[in-house]
Amino acid sequence: MTVEVRVSSVPALAVAKARRLLRHPLVLAGFALFVLASVVELRDYWGPRPAFSLLTNGMALWPGVPVFFAAELVASASRRAGGDELLGALPASRTQRTAASCLAALGPFLVACAVQMALCVGYAVQGVSLERFPTVFELALGPLCVLGAGLLGVASARWLPWAGASVLVMVALVFFNVVVNGNEATGGHLFGFYAELAVWGPWPYRAAMGFNPGHTGWHAVYLLALCLGAGALAMLRDSPRRRFWLGAGALTVIAVAVAGLGQLP
């Protein structure tokens, strides 16, 4: 008898799913919108405040929102197609498929990082006026939102297997964000995913009004912890190792709480 050497199918599956996610029309449209807004901004169209905003957390809206929906659709594709029976008899388990979907969320994240870097270079070359240049943590906020959107999309597909459930999740997210952000114009705290770091002041936002006093480094940790929490939530659904993922989820909750407090002024 020959000894079989079997490799896990998760990496290959993650690559395939990441490719599907990146080719999804919603994701393409989201990145296209962001790039379009960036190109406009590179000509110093809106002034320093919106320019800073775009570079730090603009990605939370797009491609963040479309990535959430696309990730949900890609992760739920076989269920919606009625293909779970066929896939259920294959060697790769449902847990492995979920893990691959979670890893695939790194695809849009990496693209977001690349876009962000290109935008930084563009800002520097064009000399876009900013009150100050964002820190690395602040630059990471946009891509982290994109990562979280992808992971939450997978969690949503696993836990809420009904048509339209993702829309409700998005409504809840927006509602949460509006409630915790407080007044954007004067600078609230940073509990939202889309949190304004710069104080916008009155229209047309041309004058520099300073920054939100919260700690943006902790805010990045806060977002990262939320991302990992969404991933743990997705894995918890069908993994036979429930205890492990419950534990991991509990750790991320603690991390979210610590980072959430840490970001307060």
């Binding site: 199918s9 290959a12 009625g82």
Partner: protein
């Protein structure tokens, strides 16, 4: 050696017994599960595919116990469900490739070669770049068979692979399936006696979750030997007027009747009795 050994398997949905102490075996070649709708064919095939567990009784697949060694069995299994849901936006190649990844063929080049091989084997090479939603029902069924052939499985399960096909497609399917069955175990379900006659080396007839016959198609035919009569009048439980104007009666001999050569269908109908004409006890 028997690839599939099913002993005394019981499976209930609520109070309804879908499989009621079923036993049978299958080895290399094509074995047909023949029975009317609701007989329990899909329930049984899902068990053989390791997606459904039996309430009681034992199953051995490829010499292993599916409750303990499911993964090892799945690696040597090909399965076409009765209603395979396809990702309609995928191309044929993308879909089969996706299944190939889930079948742990992770090396990209080897996988693509394998995907092309199975697509060619079912005669879909020309449309491998087409989206599945643009294919006809028969072509989709062939996509389903292609994915079941990935990785040269030793046991191939096909749930009603010929249902809803036109006669020409049916013929092509028979050719394909008999080729597949040349060097492995194929278990297929059908409610068509013609499929069994044309394809299967062995046939298991069952109804109401119970095995009623196990043997070769020729043996099934001989079940009705001496019990099929042609006469001028209708008689017996089952009789119908043939093209020549005579009645074909299965069962007791009517008056002035002539004994006729039975077919597999006659044997099947005789076994099922009332169930065959839709009357259930």
């Amino acid at each position: 050696m028997n690839t599939v050994v099913v002993t005394n398997v019981v499976k209930s949905y609520g109070r309804h017994r879908a499989l009621d102490g079923l036993s049978f075996t299958a080895g290399p070649g094509v074995t047909g599960l023949l029975g009317p709708n609701g007989a329990g064919k899909t329930t049984l095939i899902r068990m053989l595919a390791t997606v459904l567990a039996a309430d009681s009784g034992t199953l051995r697949l490829l010499g292993r116990d599916p409750s303990a060694e499911r993964l090892q069995i799945r690696r040597r299994l090909g399965y076409l469900p009765q209603e395979p849901g396809f990702h309609r936006a995928f191309t044929v190649f993308e879909f089969v490739d996706y299944v190939a990844i889930l079948k742990e063929i992770v090396d990209r080049r080897a996988r693509h070669d394998e995907v092309r091989r199975v697509i060619a084997e079912v005669g879909l090479a020309e449309v491998s770049g087409k989206r599945i939603r643009a294919l006809s029902g028969g072509m989709r069924r062939r996509v389903g068979i292609a994915q079941a052939l990935l990785g040269e499985p030793e046991l191939v399960l096909l749930d009603e692979p010929t249902a809803g096909l036109d006669p020409e497609q049916r013929l092509r399917f028979r050719e394909l399936i008999s080729r597949i069955g040349e060097n492995r175990t194929v278990v297929l379900s059908t409610h068509q006696t013609e499929d069994v006659a044309a394809l299967c080396g062995r046939v298991v007839v069952f109804d109401g979750g119970r095995c009623m016959f196990e043997g070769t198609p020729e043996e099934l035919r001989r079940v009705a030997e001496g019990q099929v009569w042609l006469s001028a009048e209708r008689s017996g439980v089952l009789s119908w007027r043939t093209g020549e104007g005579l009645f074909r009666n299965i069962g007791q001999a009517p008056d002035a009747a002539r004994l006729a050569e039975p077919t597999i269908e006659d044997g099947y109908l005789l076994l099922l009795g009332d169930a065959a004409v839709g009357v259930r006890s």
